[in-house]
Symmetry: C2
Subunit: 492 residues, 2 copies
Amino acid sequence: MTSRSHYHALCQQFKTIYHFEHLQALGDWDQATMMPAGGSQARGEAMAQLALHIHALKTAPSLAEHLAHAADEPLSAAQQANLREMRYQQRQATALPGKLVQAKTQLTYACEHAWRAQRQQNDWQGFKPNLEAVIALVREEAQILGEAQQLAPYDALLNKFEPGTTMAQIDRVFGDLKIWLPSLIQQVQAKQQAWPTKALPHATIAQQKALNLDVMTLLGFDFKQGRLDTSSHPFSGGVPGDVRITTRYDEHDFLTALFSTIHETGHARYEQGLPLEWRGQPAGNARSMAIHESQSLFFEMQMARGTGILPLLQQRINHHLGCQISELELQHWLTRVSPGRIRVDADEVTYPCHIMLRYEVEKGLIEGRLTVADLPEFWDAAMQSLLGLSTQGDYRNGCMQDIHWPVGELGYFPSYSLGAMYAAQFSASMQNQIGSIDALIAAGELTLVTQWLQDNIWSKGALLTTDELVIAATGETLNPAHFKQHLMTRYL
Amino acid sequence: MTSRSHYHALCQQFKTIYHFEHLQALGDWDQATMMPAGGSQARGEAMAQLALHIHALKTAPSLAEHLAHAADEPLSAAQQANLREMRYQQRQATALPGKLVQAKTQLTYACEHAWRAQRQQNDWQGFKPNLEAVIALVREEAQILGEAQQLAPYDALLNKFEPGTTMAQIDRVFGDLKIWLPSLIQQVQAKQQAWPTKALPHATIAQQKALNLDVMTLLGFDFKQGRLDTSSHPFSGGVPGDVRITTRYDEHDFLTALFSTIHETGHARYEQGLPLEWRGQPAGNARSMAIHESQSLFFEMQMARGTGILPLLQQRINHHLGCQISELELQHWLTRVSPGRIRVDADEVTYPCHIMLRYEVEKGLIEGRLTVADLPEFWDAAMQSLLGLSTQGDYRNGCMQDIHWPVGELGYFPSYSLGAMYAAQFSASMQNQIGSIDALIAAGELTLVTQWLQDNIWSKGALLTTDELVIAATGETLNPAHFKQHLMTRYL
Ligand SMILES: [Zn+2]
Ligand SMILES: [Zn+2]
């Protein structure tokens, strides 16, 4: 029994950490959906205290000692994977001083809170000093994390969300994209020029909510294990067993809420489908944020903009909104390519441009080539060059549009494009193995599609590394060619 | 500086505890209002872990050491009061083993969760073993707390909610009540026999919600510092700065939701009015649960069923519900005395009977004279004797109706009747000092009424003991004669 005891002790300690992370997830969700403004300060302080406590648990000397000895114990492959994830979390935590973790939580809570109002008022001057403070802290964090892992500072940030990712890899992927994407965008726009434009029907929030709940049910969301709410920025939160997704409503554009809901439903089903027997252990977590986004984008792009699901969506839309949209009209809405200022409203063809811009900004901020003061000008120039749009003076739809920087989450954005690429790769692999998404759904077998994801992705938790997971599911590591092929097939 | 250091260190430690109690309040609120069933187990475990952690913070040796030395430091009267409250909390925590605290949290979370369904299904057989397990733990808790404070076990439970209260005191108060209350109930019923009975108008949930929000605004609820939601059992939760009250809706009885909302608004304004400069410290808390209930009952009974506010309520009801209720009809509804099975729906005259029954049950359960198995029979007999009603076979409206026992909160019920008595005493005192509630509100000076409460009760936090607080506000300690006088004046 002695030989198992270190690993067993680690499982206990990480279970305790999991319980406090549960409270962290709840506090974050509530702050975005329910909390009145007056609660902000006390919540920020409580969350900072909680972050400090979780940090203390992960950096406890006893945990390091058990980790040092557990590797010598006879463990199953799955237990070894759990140990690998434990070690990763412990190293990430140990690298950072607790004071920095606490300070960052409190600072970003305040910055995000202020940003909500500042963004609405297009108040760049008010936001700027707050963002400067956040960026200064994140640069410190990146520096420390990088030194601990012998990584460049920005690589260390990328690794927080997708372990193993490097700027070299992203540069290669985006470098390739930059070669073929601009001409593809032009070709698609030329092809779609003849498409008639028709305004979306007006839809009350109540109608939209009923529609969204219906579509979530169609997509297998388990309402005994989750809920849908409203927030100014859609997200998926909560914990497995209680997954909480949000959307936001625009009475003149029901598709925004519907498709953000479908996106978050993809995240949610991943969480709801994580391996029950590993719940509460690091190996039971989702693999990474790129894989997480691959699941949401699989739902939003691969499934929900395809031809197979089209009649099912059409019928539900017409039913709940009391309108008479044709299949063709809907298809045009769902696949129209049109450069815009807002990332979250972008179509899947122009979306990577938004990511490439943010990636360049983040690298520049972290490596010191760019300051927060430079941001608006840099942003405007990049949007002009990438999508031919000016954002001058329009901060709210320019460099103030995303929640990621106010909350200090630099290094996350590339996960979206990696996710889109993984999603295309999974889709291609599924097609080879059991048939295309469109064909399966048209044949009434939507559950076969999600079962494939359950078997190949969700049930694996973090038991495999990203590369192991993707190879097991598709036979190869990340291959952006599938994404290119997907766009060409669907849009040309 | 050395002389101040122990007290200062204590303030830091209690601030940390306050942050974790913030998360506890959030978890409790969410569990009752938002959480899907699937989240129950993980939440229960996380809350038990949190309770254990708070217990560990309160029982830390360093905290005891600072407490031992702080008394020798030169402290202001307010700081001494804060120290008194710290010491009380520390003693209460230290008496109980952490394992018991954790086990009780987890057990009562599960029991409450199951009870929600069992109550609906009138499933006494399913509920009984769960309640037996909770009562066994609470008996252990009472035993340990009693020994630590040299109190009888049930006195120790009373002290959790109202420090200083004893069975001897409650027995005296209730003994007196039993003498005059039954004949008063009969007299009032005889007087009201001639009142016409008229059904309440049907009201949608949306109409009721708008009405409730309007009345909350009238009563000074600050929506920047709180919110109103729905739960199966109305309560007031959250934290000062973010006070969350709930109600439940019945389309055939809008008064249930309205008056539970008014009740909880009283709790909420107390929390919102606590001294800002003491926020996060024990002296900044509400005084006790009896004083808390005195504020909710002041709002619900003293203010909202009086003649002064009647036209203001009438106008808002007719506006939001689109009906034409007369002042007299409304007054009859608000003051009709009618024995019923459900405590929370009881009028203020028969309400004490419900409390006396529960008080006898709790004493019996804790002192071992009564078992859980005896409950239905005891309940039926007591209801027959007190109010002339049988509850045989109707467990859901009998001994399964309250949330207090599933969650292990024995010792709380007397706070309601003490609160009603304090409310009447405050009302009488206010009348002497600035005029009667009804006269002030009729003169458009509702804010003078709440300002009196702000000055005399809310702003004092826990800086005074209950007796000190009540003497400062009214010139005497608890005097039930005011309650008797109030009922006679209003109902005879
Ligand atoms: Zn996403
Ligand atoms: Zn109350």
